[in-house]
């Protein structure tokens, strides 16, 4: 791991949903600018980790701490976390009928800017800002005037999440199975965009079931989550090992780190 104080530090995190314990003591530290991948079989708690970091109210934290940029993240409301720079690209993005992407993104961006003491952008300034962001990632504006995710294909919804990521410029971006439901071309586009958005001021936590996304995005650290615990951590080569061997060999309680 790189030097420096961790941006995100998770210690002994235990989380339950609807009375069932899903995370059974997770430890994780991510420094500014690092890309971490969380892999693991279905039901291991990957998405739970993503949701609980973003503050979904359905999850109950039983024990443990989460420190983000020196703050107790668990004390913050979801919108406060977002304003502090935590972004979650959803596995299942919701539709917002009648509200255009452009309007939605401006409202979100302004909420963030307001929190940071920056002036809010009016529609004209925002369009200019948006144009620059789109140019930087090489996308066009065809999704901007459509209602948020309404009538979007699965792939379009995932791409839209990445577009929002590009506009909102988080300090910690969590990608929850962004690769699921993407065909190979869309997967490449998404990966390329994520690579463009990588930088010293932006850390990523990429949650994925398959290794294929990591063919295009090379993580600094790969973690394997199984049965609510991180059972193994390693470099990018770990992802390839998992691809070859599957998850079963890790399930027998082998704890390596």
């Amino acid at each position: 791991m790189k030097q420096g104080k961790a941006l995100l530090e998770v210690k002994g995190l235990r989380v339950a949903v609807a009375g069932t314990e899903i995370l059974k003591g997770v430890d994780l530290a991510i420094s500014d600018g690092e890309v971490h991948a969380i892999m693991g079989p279905n039901g291991s708690g990957k998405s739970t980790l993503a949701q609980v970091l973003a503050g979904h109210p359905a999850y109950t934290v039983l024990a443990g701490t989460v420190t983000y940029d020196g703050k107790d993240l668990l004390e913050l409301k979801p919108e406060e976390r977002a304003r502090e720079g935590v972004f979650l690209a959803f596995q299942y993005p919701v539709e917002v009928r009648g509200i255009t992407n452009s309007y939605f993104l401006r409202a979100a961006l302004n909420a963030l800017r307001k929190h940071r003491g920056l002036p809010e952008l009016d529609p004209i300034d925002f369009l200019q800002f948006l144009e620059e962001k789109l140019k930087a990632i090489g996308w066009d504006d065809s999704m901007m005037n459509r209602p948020v995710n309404e009538g979007f294909s699965g792939g379009e919804k995932k791409r839209n999440e990445i577009l929002q990521l590009a506009v909102l410029e988080p300090r910690l971006a969590i990608l929850d199975e962004t690769d699921s439901g993407l065909d190979i071309d869309a997967l490449k586009t998404v990966a390329e965009t994520v690579n463009k958005l990588r930088g010293p001021d932006r850390a990523f936590l990429i949650v994925t079931h398959y290794q294929r996304l990591l063919n295009y995005i090379t993580p600094d650290v790969v973690h394997v989550l199984a049965d609510g615990r991180i059972v193994k951590s390693g470099g990018p080569e770990l992802a390839h090992e998992l691809e070859a061997k599957g998850y079963d060999w890790l399930r027998d309680g082998v704890m390596v780190s």
């Binding site: 973003a54 972004f87 917002v96 009928r97 009648g98 509200i99 939605f104 409202a107 909420a111 909102l168």
Partner: protein, 477 residues
């Protein structure tokens, strides 16, 4: 749904009472009271006769109980049928309006002093049973447009009133319309002459102030051949523990090629969280597209009232005439609404569009009830209906009763309906992007209502958006 429920309760903003000396006739209803009202208005004999005829019919009618709403019995003898501020200005001089009234309307966001006028909007301000000010009358008169309190129209334009009043909603149309005909006190009258496009938005603001009274307003709008008018009504009332009755009748007449756009933002006091107090809003609104190629468009945003019972409809008599109904109805706390429209197709190639958005929150009950009737002679008629319901929380209800009666096989009917629920996941998604939960709910609701809001005049679309946010706050969950 704890996080959505966690909103702070925002009180009804317009619930204040104006302390003003009023003349209130004692509670009770009989022919003498009707004679008294008629005399106070200085009405001609034919009007009194019509009122009495309606009253005698009303006595034989019974209160309708088919709507999907529940309320205790109304004691019609416990209501005062006339209340008016004692100091009333002469009608043509706005300077003489009691400053307390000016202040009241100012607080409601309705400037009645012309120097502080709302750009492009003429206002008739009705306080309890009387109109206290009508702005821009002289300006409108230059175009031949008559915009005045209906009591003034009865005195000054009897020929127009007599020709059209009661032609769309007859005196015995229904229980509440008959009651209104017997005791109506004020409301607006509009006449737009041939070929004139009314240069201003016309607007009436109804304010109930006195307690233990009912408000019975009557509005009549006539758009002569080839004319256009856009009219908006708004309303509010103080917070009181008692229920107050508001039974209005609105009649619209559009002659050949005329267009009437009628918008309502209804914000009567809805009662408290437990259902105590609030207005019973039992109104009859109907437009007649009497001429060929005429058009009547109703847009309503109903956020107030304990109970709403209204079905603004269109009688599409002229060939190629068009009827439209765009509605947003919100029920939260213990509010109940049974609202929708009636589209009666008589003429050939008549078209109607219905877009209804019902939002239920808290323990609110929201019912869409609509009738589309295609008569035998309505060759080539078309209707498109869309009824969408949104539920917020799990203690509220949404109901849809679309009635369709087609007697001509050339008719083309389309009906779409949907029910959705604002869920924790939807709110969470927006909050994860940095929006507060209040803003998230408001954004979801406004998006849901967009097709209706875009029909509102610009100035009022903003008001509607804001109002919706307020009425849902505290009930979301």
């Amino acid at each position: 749904m704890t996080s959505i429920e966690a909103h702070v309760q925002q009180p009804y903003k317009y619930g204040f009472v104006t302390d003003i000396e009023s003349e209130v006739v004692p509670a009770g209803l009989d022919e003498d009271v009707i004679r008294l009202i008629s005399a106070k208005k200085g009405e001609p004999a034919w009007m009194l006769e019509w009122r009495l005829k309606a009253y005698r019919n009303w006595l034989k009618m019974s209160e309708p109980h088919w709507p999907n709403v529940k309320y205790g019995p109304i004691d019609y003898q416990a209501i005062s049928y006339y209340a008016a501020p004692k100091k009333l200005p002469k009608l043509d001089s706005l300077d003489q309006v009691d400053p307390k009234l000016v202040e009241t309307f100012k607080k409601l966001g309705i400037p009645i002093e012309e120097q502080k006028r709302l750009t492009g909007v003429a206002v008739d301000a009705v306080f309890d049973s009387v109109s206290v000010a009508t702005t821009f009358q002289a300006e409108l008169a230059k175009y031949g447009v008559i915009f005045c309190p209906i009591s003034q129209a009865i005195r000054e334009h009897p020929e127009l009133v007599q020709k059209y009043l009661g032609t769309v909603v007859p005196h015995n149309d229904n229980f509440f319309a008959a009651l209104n005909t017997a005791v109506f006190t004020d409301g607006s009258f509009v006449y737009v002459p041939k070929g004139v496009r009314c240069p201003l938005e016309l607007s009436t603001y109804f304010r109930i102030n006195a307690s233990s009274t009912g408000q019975f307003e009557r509005t009549l709008i006539i758009a002569d051949e080839g004319s256009y008018v856009s009219y908006l009504e708004g309303c509010s009332a103080p917070m009181r523990d008692e229920h107050q009755l508001h039974a209005a009748v609105v009649e619209l007449v559009a002659l050949d090629r005329a267009t009437i756009k009628y918008s309502t933002i209804q914000n009567w006091y809805p009662g408290d969280e437990e259902g105590k107090g609030g207005i019973y809003n039992f109104v009859t609104k109907r437009g007649k597209c009497a001429g060929a190629n005429s058009k009547i468009s109703w847009t309503q945003v109903e956020t107030g009232s304990a109970i709403t019972w209204k079905y603004p409809g269109c009688i599409l008599q002229g060939d190629n005439s068009i009827g439209e109904f765009y509605s947003v109805a919100v029920t939260s706390h213990r509010q109940q609404a049974d609202t929708g429209t009636k589209m009666i197709h008589l003429g050939k190639n008549t078209r109607s569009t219905i877009v209804s958005k019902g939002i239920s929150a808290g323990r609110g009950q929201n019912t869409y009830r609509g009738l589309v009737k295609i008569m035998k002679g309505a060759e080539g008629a078309r209707n498109y209906s869309q009824c969408d319901s949104m539920l917020i929380g799990d203690k509220c209800g949404a109901h849809t009763f679309p009635y369709i009666d087609v007697r001509n096989s050339t008719a083309i009917m389309e009906h779409e309906a949907s029910t959705s629920k604002i869920g924790e996941d939807q709110i969470f998604y927006l909050r994860q992007r940095g929006l507060s939960s209040e803003d998230a709910v408001s954004m979801i609701v406004n998006g849901f209502c967009k097709e209706v809001f875009k029909e509102l005049p610009m100035e009022f679309a903003v008001e509607a958006t804001r109002l919706l946010g307020i009425s849902l706050e505290g009930s979301v969950g």
